[in-house]
């Protein structure tokens, strides 16, 4: 368990990730560690295996989510603390978020066509993709402060898409 999450799945330490490969390695590890496959283990070994399974599961969930992956990388590469409850003051970012939420609220209140709502979500999804691309570039060029900002932006966008 002293491997980092990327090493655990034998993947390069980078923001860009081969998702299919991650899924495949995850399944392989699960099969390897499954207690049913090793019926003769001692209670101690069983406990160890359970802990390891939890670790593998956390690692998988972290690497699968772009936001969590970016936060994990910032912590791993430059020990940038990721305090989830900190307040953000970026006026431009927040004004944009406020406008989008107002737009969504209006679309849901009025008896608008479903296409207008789906057009709105298309727009936000396109913005999500642009942010992901920018995030990859920021990590590639080791611009970690920028990566941190983009990660915050991505978080807000993902919350908006969940609404």
């Amino acid at each position: 368990m002293n491997k980092n999450y990327f090493e655990l799945f034998s993947l390069p330490v980078a923001f860009a990730i081969d998702e299919a490969l991650l899924q495949q390695r995850y399944r392989e590890l699960l099969l390897q560690l499954h207690p049913d496959r090793r019926p003769t283990v001692s209670p101690h070994e069983k406990k160890e295996a359970t802990l390891l399974l939890a670790f593998v599961h956390d690692a998988f969930r972290t690497l699968l989510s772009p936001v969590k992956r970016a936060e994990y990388l910032l912590q791993l590469l430059v020990s940038m603390p990721q305090n989830a409850e900190r307040t953000v003051h970026d006026v431009d970012l927040l004004t944009q978020q406020l406008e989008w939420r107002e737009e969504l609220e209006a679309l849901k209140r009025e008896d608008v066509h479903a296409d207008e709502l789906s057009l709105f979500y298309e727009k936000i999804k396109a913005e999500r993709q642009r942010t992901l691309d920018a995030l990859k570039q920021a990590f590639d060029s080791q611009s970690y402060d920028l990566a941190n900002e983009l990660c915050v932006k991505l978080k807000f966008i993902e919350r908006l898409l969940q609404q």
């Binding site: 409850e85 953000v88 406020l98 978080k155």
Partner: protein
């Protein structure tokens, strides 16, 4: 795994949530208006709080617009109620702990009251910047 945490809201939170006070916007270009806009990335909450200050330095109007959970809405609603009629210095001294206590927020929701305190400070700062103080 993706399980939702159910938070039971206290009566005061529900009251502010159902009947939020001072929802709306003030003209952010007005030199007497200070606008504070803050966000909490973890929950995706966005909170805008605006104050209108008279020549005596007293907050005569306060408005908010919050996109977030019930506790965030209640915290900002209560904050606007409390700062009305106060001077900027008095308003700046309102602590998140007082908001959390008044609304009986559970520990997991205390950050909503911190967001409201930060929004008050941001609005005061914006007003002072406009006034060149």
């Amino acid at each position: 795994m993706g399980g939702k945490i159910i938070v039971k809201y206290e009566k005061k939170v529900l009251d502010h949530y159902d009947n939020p006070r001072n929802v709306g916007s003030l003209d952010k270009e007005d030199s007497h208006v200070g606008t504070g806009i803050v966000g909490a990335p973890a929950c995706g909450d966005v909170m805008k709080l605006q104050i209108k200050v008279n020549d005596e330095g007293v907050i005569e109007e306060a408005k908010f617009k919050t996109y977030g959970c019930g506790s965030a809405i209640a915290s900002s609603s209560l904050a606007t109620e409390w700062i009305k009629g106060k001077t900027l210095d008095e308003a700046g001294q309102i602590k998140n702990t007082a908001i959390a206590e008044e609304l009986a927020l559970p520990p997991i929701k205390v950050h909503c009251s911190i967001l409201a305190e930060d929004a008050i400070h941001a609005a005061i700062k914006d007003y002072r910047r406009k006034q060149g103080v």
